[in-house]
Amino acid sequence: MSRPEHLAPPEIFYNETEAKKYTQNSRIIEIQEQMSERAIELLLLPEDKQSLILDIGCGSGLSGGVLDENGHYWVGMDISTAMLDVALEREVEGDLLLADMGEGCPFKAGAFDGAISISALQWLCNADKSHHKPVQRLYKFFSTLYACLSRSARAVLQFYPENGEQMELVTTQAMKAGFYGGVVVDYPNSTKAKKFFLVLMTGGNMPLPKGLGTEGESSGIDYSRREKIKRQRGKPLKSRREWILEKKERRRRQGKEVRPDSKYTGRKRSGRF
């Protein structure tokens, strides 16, 4: 699938038709909200307290809606007027700003208790105009973001890196700007559910949280065992209880919905049925 950032710059790509999808397409809405939930969870905000959050690339305010549900007050910035118009239509709670993240966050020092960004950062890795230099724009963004966060605040940025180099480029610039932290990967075993969260911390280095769906070692079947099973008589390989349990475990790691294991797992139905 082609990546939207290869098609046009964000202020042109997110036109009225594209913006409309963010109010009508329930799948887009659901994914955006799930990612916002997770980003807020990774922010580790003090519980039961209303915080002031910066939403970078707020778009139509879907992530803002999740912030509202969690009882936080937010200020959003986005480069697309069409998306901001949709946000106005939806009468979002937060305050909106038309700004380009690559030109820096235009806020005074220590203004926010945290920052989130959903699917926006990858746009910075492209040079859409002749005077755009991705490395400089990334550094400007991260350094001004660092300045406008309060002490010990965090920034969680969900993004779609195109390749390993892009991920390294982004992380290097963030570290250069003074942040600690790194990338948390949720569901690394699944192509579809895999999500990258850049977790940035301002007040000292802390251990990174674990990504979802990473528990346990990845276990593949080694060939000698497979051969041995093949040679054995009886049930075919794929209807054996061990194989089914292994497959269910694999699907669970990919974040898919799997029926719980029971004593009936892998058994035949009785003839009475």
Binding site: K49, L88, L98, D100, P106, H131, S150
Partner: protein, 124 residues
């Protein structure tokens, strides 16, 4: 744009501007909206707010009412003061107008309550 956002906003991203704070507001349309009052949130916001800037901004919009010039001591328990601060910070909104950078005089238009902070090529 609410005055809370104005209190945080600077024009330091413009090339050659060092502080860019506070931005002057030239408002042509101001609205007062109802927002839920959360005394705890407001009292934690106060230390972050540049109070004289907020006072001057409210004054320039003609919505100063009886906002005190300085924050009183023990404002955490002063609900009357917190309500006034809440009104100035979150309920007064600039719908149309412009923001002016104090150093360069660059103007940022505000349309439908959204300030346009986009810069030109030569300002980055």
């Amino acid at each position: 744009m609410k005055l809370l956002t104005h209190n945080m906003l600077t024009s330091k991203c413009v090339k050659g501007v060092n502080v860019g704070y506070p931005l002057t507001i030239n408002a042509s349309d101001v609205r007062v909206a109802d927002v839920d009052f959360n005394p705890d949130f407001i009292s934690r916001l106060i230390p972050k707010i540049d109070w004289p800037v907020l006072y001057n901004a409210a004054e320039s919009l003609g919505h100063v009412e009886d906002l005190p010039k300085e924050t009183p001591v023990n404002y955490e328990n002063n609900e009357e003061f917190l309500k006034k601060a809440h009104r100035a910070l979150l309920e007064v909104e600039v719908v149309h107008g412009e923001l002016v950078c104090p150093e360069s005089g660059r103007k940022f238009p505000i349309n439908n309550g959204i300030p346009n902070m986009l810069l030109n090529e030569d300002e980055v």
